[in-house]
Amino acid sequence: MSKIGVFVCHCGENISATVDCAKVAETAGNYDGVAFSVDYKYMCSDPGQNLIKSAIKEKGLTGVVVASCSPRMHEPTFRKACAEAGLNPFMCEMANLREHCSWVHEKGEATTEKAIDLVRILVEKVKYNHSLNEIKVPVTKTALVIGGGIAGIQASLDIANTGHKVILIEKDPSIGGHMSQLSETFPTLDCSQCILTPRMVEVAQHPNITLYTYAELESLEGFIGNFKAKIRRKSKSIDEKLCTGCGQCTTKCPVKKIPSEFNEGLGKRTAIYVPFPQAVPNKPVIDRINCTYYIKGKCKVCEIVCPTKAIRFDQEDQIMEVEVGAIVIATGFTVKQPDFFPEYGYGKYPDVITGLQFERLASASGPTLGEIRRPSDDKVPEKIVFLACAGSRDPAKGIPYCSKICCMYIAKHAMLYQHKVHGGKSYVFYMDIRAGGKQYEEFVRRAIEDDGVNYVRGRVSRIYEKNGKLIVNGVDTLLNAMPVEIEADMVVLATAGIANEGAEELAQKLHISYDPYKFFAEAHPKLKPVETNTAGIFLAGACQAPRDIPESVAMASGAAVKVAGLFSQDELTREPIIAVVNRQAPPVYSSCVGCFLCVSACPYQAIEKEEIKNRNGELIKLIAKVNPGLCQGCGTCVAFCRTKSIDIQGYTHEQMYTEVMALLNEY
């Protein structure tokens, strides 16, 4: 006979405000096999856990049902408490009274009835629970970091400095990411490249870091501690060992008019190119789409001028397989191209530019060497307008969220403009100034008070060109929505930060979740900000949401600590939620008939064939056998099995049928 303990949590008032917790506990106390039932204010608190522990010991409980929040929140907490009291942790189940009941329904009898049902389901289930032992798996102590922007660089260095190996892959020819494009950084106005490039060099020289640029993740299999990643190393068309980075090829390449990605289209580059002078590695790649040789079959100027004969036109992409124990995703973000704002004329008027383009104009390494000159005629703009929220906070354009970084960089842009163009006039159209952060508000105030930037509260309706000026039509909502028309020389749009193109595909390769905007989802919004739902895969930087540099760096260090923590163990324990094939006494040995449908169902190749032999060593039959190291516990094989010979621990047939029956018998 089971002796089950039921522990109903009020969660302060989160549950008890709509659910009659005492009644739930009382009703559960009357169920067959329930030896103890109680409700309590905070079950997850120390006294609450002690309540469970002492009940286990005093009443000799064989199973525990905690009716509180989502098991995704506190299942480990309560299982650990049970284990500490000597009960197998897998004899503990949780009924979700908070997220699935009290928070989503009104106070009333029906809600309490539902809570009772949810408890009853699990009381009946737990009767069929079995003691299970955790599974031990080895750990490969190498980390894979995807993305070589500031977040990836920081994560790589932090992990490498704990003594573990890191493989860093970057899809572009150089690491550095968006930060390498920035001119100066808020709120200190220190030069972005000056603080970044030393880190880039450190990555390249670190003995524990292997860097592959121009490389992308092809596929991933395995699980925490034991991932196998395939990496596509895109052909650079050069032999990196021979190339010295002398630059002869890039100087002589006849194709010189390709818009430079690094300069956001404001500068030009050649077909064989190094994205920027401080690139790491400082070796060129050939852009095959624009290279004359690949288009017309002739040219080869680079090959002729190369002193070390390093050009390889016939080089192919390579697929490389690596084994890693943990992964940090630091793929960053991209900015929305504002051509979806036809009323602002981006793409039509050359002097309407994006914030990132302005960074390049303001950067000493940029196309104008740091002078603010407008793209159309190279003139210094005397009047400049910055538009905040160009795309952000705009559900009509599909982006309801705030991109977070724009308020600050706009203040910085306006400030840089005022510093560089004396006597120039700058205007910022904004809706709210979001300057939460250390020294941020003070920074914005400085732009307004000391540098004389004109902040106008209102959104611009449209921009059109007239006689070489950009006419900006806005209002001042603080003055009864009075029309404001500015004849500007240049307009900068603070375009929304959005997820990378292909973020969805990457998430699918990694089996991690993502939000509706394709930013990768953290495991818990507050308590697990760098973890994903997939154990062993962590997030850093703006791939999770738009982030500024300090936040990206902090997140990267956080992810690195998680990886280091993982690598501090030689073996990992995994939940024993895995499939097993039943075994019986001779002469049948198993009800498995060896059809191996389960093999075709298994996405992990975790099912092997096992020979069943009689006492004389003669083969009776072949049956399926689950490799516990590979099985991830999805249970697809269970639904496939015709003879119900394979079952999944924790979600067995007995348990699931019992849940359905227990629910409906009294529902």
Binding site: A396, K397, S461, V475, T477, A481
Partner: protein, 190 residues
């Protein structure tokens, strides 16, 4: 057991707006893009975004001011505000509702006298002939507003160019048209 209780009633004029036009005034976050693009906002006493704000307050005094405002009459329903609104708020539809309510409650702004008169003359013209009779409209409008001299030069010029029909075009089923007016007006006054 309750289903979704999210769309509980909003009190006051904002609630009526929601009920009749599906426009939820709380959606507006006061960016002002509507006012910035509105071709007539400078002629308005309250630009569109200010109207939205007044409705958001739920203050009966401000709501009354909205119904008595000149803005709702000078609005041309050019749809520019709706086209560019980041929150996709159908302001023109809301304006239609406010105008109708303003008339029904006899709160139409005195400055809008000519505009209201023109609309009334226009509808009267259709009511009796089924189609717009431009001369009739002019005469009717002039009598309503006593702006006899304005535009007087226009008529002969139009006439000369064959742009005015001296005799109204009458449709056959005039009683049907009258019935439409009667039925939709009855509902209106309730």
């Amino acid at each position: 057991m309750s289903s979704d209780t999210h769309h509980s009633g909003i009190a006051g004029l904002g609630g009526e707006v929601l009920e009749h036009t599906e426009v939820k005034v709380s959606h507006c976050y006061q960016c002002g893009k509507c006012s910035a693009g509105c071709p007539l906002s400078e002629e308005m006493d309250y630009p569109p975004s200010v109207i939205m704000r007044m409705l958001q307050t739920g203050n009966p005094v401000l709501e009354d001011k909205v119904l008595r405002s000149f803005s709702i009459w000078v609005c041309l329903t050019c749809e520019m505000c709706f086209a560019r609104c980041p929150m996709s708020i159908d302001i023109p539809k809301m304006m239609d509702f406010l105008r109708e309510k303003s008339i029904n409650e006899k709160k139409a702004n005195p400055k809008a006298k000519e505009i209201v008169a023109f609309h009334k003359s226009f509808l009267d013209s259709i009511k009796f002939t089924g189609r717009l009779y431009e001369i009739g409209l002019f005469v009717d409008y002039k009598t309503r507003t006593l702006k006899i001299l304005e535009d007087l030069a226009l008529a002969p010029k139009m006439m000369k160019r064959g742009k005015l029909n001296i005799i109204p075009e009458l449709i056959k089923d005039r009683s049907g048209i009258a019935a439409i007016f009667r039925k939709s007006n009855k509902k209106n006054k309730n």
